[in-house]
């Protein structure tokens, strides 16, 4: 029993990312308002970013910038265990900015939908489409 509890507590990063991701997924499926769907999409995205960054963590390691390395070619041996994994940071760095850009496109589409139907509620839009 103590084993299970310690496993659950130790891996709390996974539980947080799953919770956030499912909140986002639920919002995308169930919410009626398009802007709320977009917010859900962003929560989903944030969950993935959290997942990636938490994977890169190493116990007792520091940020992936080499210490005392300014302008020196003859740098000594670097131990990989001293620095956290830089790859997830690289991937998520671009993902964050691309996420902002795609958010812009989503909002632009929402503006176009609003101009066309005068509403952002999904059921009202569908009703208007059926009437046509």
């Amino acid at each position: 029993m103590a084993d299970i509890v310690s496993t659950v507590v130790d891996n709390y990063n996974y539980w947080i990312y799953i919770t956030l991701m499912m909140i986002g997924l639920y919002a995308i499926i169930a919410k009626n308002n398009l802007v709320k769907k977009i917010v859900g999409m962003n929560i989903f995205q944030t969950a993935i970013i959290l997942f990636y960054v938490s994977i890169g963590v190493k116990r007792g390691a520091t940020i992936p910038i080499l210490e005392h390395a300014h302008g020196s070619h003859g740098y000594g041996v670097v131990h990989a265990a001293e620095y956290v994994n830089p790859l997830p940071h690289v991937l998520m760095l671009t993902a964050i900015v691309v996420g902002v850009a795609t958010l812009g496109v989503a909002l632009a589409l929402a503006i176009k939908v609003y101009n066309e139907y005068n509403t952002l509620e999904e059921d009202e839009i569908l009703a208007q489409i059926r009437e046509e």
């Binding site: 496993t7 130790d10 891996n11 709390y12 990063n13 996974y14 539980w15 799953i18 919770t19 991701m21 499912m22 997924l25 639920y26 499926i29 169930a30 009626n32 938490s54 994977i55 890169g56 963590v57 190493k58 116990r59 007792g60 390691a61 940020i63 992936p64 910038i65 080499l66 210490e67 390395a69 300014h70 070619h73 740098y75 041996v77 670097v78 131990h79 990989a80 265990a81 620095y83 994994n85 830089p86 790859l87 940071h89 690289v90 760095l93 671009t94 964050i96 900015v97 691309v98 902002v100 850009a101 795609t102 812009g104 496109v105 909002l107 632009a108 589409l109 503006i111 176009k112 101009n115």
Partner: protein
Amino acid sequence: MKIIGLIVAVLTGGLLVYAAGDFPAWSDPASPASTYLSPHFIEKTIEETSVPNIVTAVLADYRGFDTMFETTVIFSAGVAVFLLLRTSGPKTQQTRLYRHQLTGVTVRIKEGAELPPSDNFERIDRFWTPHDLIIKTVCRLLIPFIQLFGLYVIAHGHHSPGGGFQGGVILGASIILLAISHDLRTAIKRVAEKLDAVLCAIGVLIYAGTGALCLLLGLNFLDYKALAPVLHVDSIMARSHGILIVEIGVGVAVMFTMIWIYSNLSSGGKYNQGL
């Protein structure tokens, strides 16, 4: 719909929780993600590129293709927002409203009429609201420092947390702050719409052009070692300088795409006073 959504979310969440049992423990140094490629990056980056910030080196050198196409995605998003929203209004506006800044008098100018010659007029829309003096002044004071910090973040990305994406976003945010604290017209006076469009294309071009230059100099696309004879440095420093060049390209592209997207979104493509 709500019940379907709840069922789907709970089912997927349950599967993910089940799968999480097989994941490596939190902050485990021997986890699969930290064992194959990343030790090479951590141990060899300073030798191969002389860049202490491993994230910058991996971003712009080892994973240069990925970053180039991410920049292209951002550029495409800017173009998509522009194509979706921008409405080319009639050149001669029927009735324009101007506000005299010293007296607060609003002047209505009919079609074809001219504004009295004065520098104190400010173009406004029908839904004009007064801006707070404190916010305006504080933002005016802060923006130069924000921009200076953005330039520092781009230029110092080799040695400290930073790089093109972060610095570009900070620079773009400084102009967006100007647009929020004053109005969109003030921001457009500083950064014209054409400038946005041209410069975010130029940012991507700097990146792709650096890659093509390496190709022309006889090595692979985006292999900055080829730049060594051009920059008069050895091949390791050439990689470091190549990273700086593409980071500047990324910074320019990100900055102007952010401004472009914001000005289209906040005014619904009309380029009036915005939010």
